[in-house]
């Protein structure tokens, strides 16, 4: 164990540090939810993105708003991975863990790579905190951390010293500890402080004391790294080579909100968002409610049913109608969603999936609403389903969702998930002028117009919007006679209308891009995924290929209908592996539709896949090893016990 650095102020010349080049580093900041770990992580991310690394992040909050300070459920974490080459996941396991208190250590240590760097605030390892974290002895002293490079620092006390003289009490000073830690880590990876300084000046400009405290803490942390011998090595991760352009950082939920506003601009139709708050979808509501200047109207409804009802009303009124929720809310919306199916109105439903069933684990991710989205309605009722595969991809898929909804007059479910929604990545900012406009048309009072006349190509009925003279008509949830839309109980009509409604979704097959394969176009194994597992799957498959294995990967962003070429892609490989964060939902569809003996690989732990887990399963399926069993480190949740 490295000794603490309390005596550093007595040292005179800064020691020389060895600089080591690394390709990729994964860091996790963990502390109490009051410790500002999300801010620390975000600032490090920004700096590193501006520096030019590729980067991916995974924040992880506790379920409670403020669990008791120092408690296990109160731990909040932020993991990020940055690299000099293209990366797609926030890393399987941290190489570096910053633990601001014993509870943070307890809940996160299980994930740290063996021999990894562990930085702790030694001051917080007092008996009271150890007890709250259910430690019977102090891990800094009992030898249980032997397998790691432990750097125990008196962060609290050093920070207090740095802030001496400021008009703040101890509690106030304590709040800047995260800047101290940030300064230290920025130093460790040779990152400049200016991005953070600039940000802090903007953010705390109105409160000069806070600004001063935070900046002093930041510099102190940085200086500590520079001047002590605690660290023998500094690390460098060279910038990645990425496509030229203007970049920003974006989370999935931000990209979702912006994508839907983009759809509004590209279509010229005002956006209406009906929603009821629910984790992890609420951020979309928060984002959109700020954007009134873009003509966005947000309607915070009394419940999810009212939220989708209002959106249906807006769709009927000719607006770009959107509703959003997470799994339990989608269940509540199912009856009304079916009304949109039956009335053939364009509507998009966001589901930012979380771990279920029921309330489940609201702050954890899962991909387990696919079959609910497909089938969770009475009767034979098809909706289209799209699923973004990275945080930034939410932007484009949001536009796609409305392109399909408007063109085919069909509700579209946009299946995001907590991992995508809260995770973020650098994003090359697109220009709207590069994106095709969205087509749509209101019905016009032409001779012979009828409310259920269909476009011969798409199957869509016309969008007859109130306010148009001569198109007064009635729609509703009862079966309607084709063409004229009168209520009909005629057997043939119902048979045909059922097929016509489902047929519109099938027709989209011609209109969506083919499934792209990465890797050999035929071979031993195809790994097929969807949604937020893209990063882990594609990284694992690339790694496997670089080891000479005949493996390709493909990622579905359209789940209903599937791309036209899916069957031929599936049949080009001897085996198909489908990793999913559920018990095999896509697998069932693929097997049932194509009779392909796809192997499901399922993880239902509320956490994303690790690259090595998929690698392990690939090897199993290729016969290169015995059965691969997921191993969950005990107490390894980013937070929570």
């Amino acid at each position: 164990m490295v000794s603490n650095g309390l005596m550093t102020t007595e040292m005179h010349s800064p020691p020389e540090h060895v600089v080591e080049e690394l390709d990729r580093v994964t860091i996790r900041f963990a502390g109490d939810s009051g410790d500002g770990m999300q801010l620390t992580g975000t600032q490090f991310t920004r700096t590193t993105a501006v520096f030019g690394n590729d980067i991916a992040t995974l924040p992880d909050y506790p379920a409670e708003i403020r669990a008791p300070t120092g408690s296990l459920p109160g731990v909040s974490g932020f993991q990020l991975s940055f690299s000099s080459s293209d990366i797609r996941t926030p890393g399987d396991q941290p190489d570096v863990l910053v633990a601001m208190n014993p509870a943070a250590l307890k809940t996160n240590l299980g994930d740290l790579v063996p021999g990894g760097l562990l930085i702790v605030d030694e001051d917080e390892f007092n008996p009271a905190n150890l007890k709250k974290a259910a430690y019977t002895s102090n891990p800094l002293e009992d030898g249980s951390l032997r397998g790691f490079q432990v750097v125990a620092i008196h962060i609290t006390r050093q920070n207090e010293l740095a802030l001496e003289g400021l008009p703040l009490n101890a509690a106030g000073k304590f709040k800047s500890r995260n800047f101290y830690a940030l300064g230290l880590i920025l130093w460790l990876y040779g990152r400049p402080l200016d991005t953070t300084v600039k940000w802090a000046e903007e953010r705390f400009g109105r409160s000069p004391e806070t600004l001063d405290a935070n900046l002093r803490a930041l510099y102190a942390g940085h200086a500590f790294g520079e001047t002590t011998e605690v660290f023998h090595t500094r690390y460098e991760v060279a910038p990645a080579t990425v496509r030229p352009g203007t970049y920003r950082h974006i989370s999935g939920n931000e990209a979702t909100a912006l994508g839907f506003v983009a759809a509004s601009i590209l279509s010229g139709l005002p956006l209406f968002y009906g929603s009821y708050p629910i984790t992890p979808a609420s951020d979309v509501l928060h984002e959109l409610s700020k954007l009134k200047s873009f003509g966005v109207k947000t309607f915070q409804a009394e419940d999810e049913i009212a939220a989708i009802g209002a959106a249906i009303g807006a769709a009927y009124g000719g607006h770009l109608a959107l509703t959003g929720t997470s799994g339990p809310g989608l269940a509540l919306k199912s009856e009304a969603l079916n009304l949109a199916v039956m009335t053939e109105l364009p509507l998009v439903v966001i589901d930012v999936q979380r771990a279920g069933p029921s309330t489940g684990m609201p702050t954890k991710t899962e991909q387990s609403d696919l079959l609910q989205a497909m089938f969770g309605r009475n009767g034979d009722s098809a909706v289209a389903i799209v699923a973004p595969c990275t945080p930034a991809d939410c932007f484009m898929m949001a536009i796609e969702a409305f392109r399909l909804a408007l063109k085919y007059m069909v509700p579209v479910v946009f299946l995001s998930d907590g991992y995508l929604g809260n995770g973020s990545e650098p994003w090359r900012i697109p220009s709207l002028s590069d994106i095709p406009k969205l087509d749509w048309e209101y019905a016009k009072p032409v001779e012979g117009w009828q409310p259920y006349l269909r476009n011969p190509e798409t199957g869509a009925r016309t969008w007859a919007v109130p306010g148009q003279k001569g198109l007064e008509h009635r729609i509703g949830g009862l079966e309607k006679s084709g063409q004229n839309g009168d209520i009909s109980y005629d057997p043939r009509n119902h048979h045909e209308m059922t097929l016509a409604r489902m047929g519109k979704v099938a027709n989209m097959t011609r209109d969506i891009p083919p499934l792209e394969v990465s890797g050999p176009s035929e071979g031993e194994l195809l790994v097929l995924g969807w949604g937020g597992t893209y990063g882990a799957i594609s990284s694992a498959v690339e790694a496997a290929r670089s080891q000479g294995k005949s493996v390709a990967s493909a990622h579905l962003r359209y789940l209903n209908p599937f791309p036209a070429n899916i069957e031929s892609v599936l049949r080009s490989y001897k085996k198909v592996l489908i990793p999913e964060l559920n018990t095999g939902q896509l697998s069932l569809l693929i097997r049932g539709m194509f009779l392909v003996d796809a192997v499901p690989f399922n993880k239902i732990s509320g956490q994303p896949f690790k690259i090595r887990e998929i690698q392990g399963k690939i090897d199993e399926v290729l016969g290169l090893r015995g059965p691969y069993v997921l191993d969950f480190p005990q107490g390894s949740a980013l937070s929570g016990g």
Binding site: T195, V296, G309, G313, A321, G467, H473, R474
Partner: protein, 345 residues
């Protein structure tokens, strides 16, 4: 001839003088012969031309129930939605398109049982909708189960031993939720009904009309004791703003207050001491007193209980959007670039 332009740049068209017939759709009316719904439909169709709103700018939205078939029969835009949710759809439509005139038709089951919560929230938001609740105190369409307005102890298909629950009073709920216009009428009094619908439709903000409606199949005569023509004047209290409360064939009886309790004054010679109706009081207390008056203890109050002005949800939202647009100059590229950005070249 007036001409209006609706949202999305649709031209609402020139507005000819419309008649009742213009509001009769080509759909065959499918209620039981004798059903009170026919009268409500007829009065609505008579009243609509008086609003001087172009047909294409009127929308009727309903839930599910006999009453909710209403939109099929009116030659405007119509949406027969799902059980209990008409108000949610109407709220979305009106918020998106404040220039439309939106009616909601619902039943005692649709509006107060499965849809009760949406009623509360639409009312407190004061969305500019006209809500007509057909109260027949029974589930008609599903063939005769008790509803939330059925009398305590009522024997129905689903309560062969009599119900064990107290009914809700729709007016009381509307008042508690803050509805800005609250009225009651009855299918049998066509003139009163037409007038009441007209007042409701002209109110800006949410207007709520409970219509006592006879279901002659499953709950025949629910209101006969006081609503039939011959007894009406004696057994109902016609509320008139600014007038003392009087009833009786010769308006010979009156209503006064004793503490918080209303009292019938038989053969009241003078108006002194009789309550003077005022639907415009900000405080809904008088309305709350009236709503407690039930037959046979009292004549049944009918007419406008409350009518006050307040900003509507849809206009407030629209104002926020307009103000934001004016102030913040929407620039999407700038929005995309807000916060930290960096260049890679």
């Amino acid at each position: 001839m007036t001409s209006t332009v609706s949202a999305n740049g649709l031209l609402a068209g020139d507005l000819p003088v419309l008649t009742r017939k213009d509001f009769v759709s080509d759909q065959e009316v499918r209620w039981c012969p004798g059903c009170g719904d026919y009268s409500i439909l007829a009065q609505m169709q008579k009243m609509l031309p008086e609003l001087h709103v172009a047909k294409e700018n009127i929308v009727f939205i309903s839930g599910i129930g006999c009453s909710s078939r209403f939109p099929y029969y009116v030659e405007t835009y119509g949406f027969h939605s799902i059980h209990g949710r008409a108000l949610t759809i109407a709220s979305g439509l009106k918020t998106a398109r404040p220039e439309l005139k939106v009616f909601v038709v619902t039943g005692d089951g649709d509006g107060l049982s499965i849809g009760g919560n949406h009623l509360l929230h639409a009312m407190r938001r004061n969305i500019d909708l006209t809500v007509v609740l057909f109260n027949n105190r029974i589930y008609g369409l599903t063939k005769g189960q008790f509803s939330p307005t059925s009398e305590f102890g009522k024997v129905t298909k689903s309560s062969p031993y009599g119900t064990t629950e107290q009914p809700l009073n729709p007016i009381r709920i509307a008042l508690a939720a803050g509805a800005t216009f609250v009225a009651r009428s009855v299918d049998r009094d066509t003139k009163h009904l037409e007038e009441t619908l007209f007042k409701a439709a002209q109110h800006k903000g949410i207007s709520f009309v409970e219509v006592y409606q006879n279901c002659n199949i499953f709950n025949d005569g629910a209101y006969a004791a006081f609503a039939e023509k011959d007894v009406r004047q004696e057994r109902m209290l016609f509320l008139e703003d600014g007038k003392p409360m009087r009833f009786g064939n010769n308006r010979e009886h009156g209503i006064r207050l004793n503490g918080f309790t209303p009292e019938v004054v038989h053969d009241a010679e003078s108006d002194d001491g009789l309550i003077v109706h005022d639907a415009t009081m900000a405080n809904p207390l008088l309305a709350n007193i009236l709503v407690g008056m039930d037959y046979p203890n009292y004549p049944v109050p009918i007419g406008v209980f409350r009518s006050v002005e307040a900003p509507t949800y849809d206009e407030l939202v629209q104002k926020q959007v307009d103000a934001a647009k004016a102030k913040e100059k929407p620039d999407f590229d700038a929005l995309l670039r807000s916060g930290e950005t960096w260049e890679v070249s």
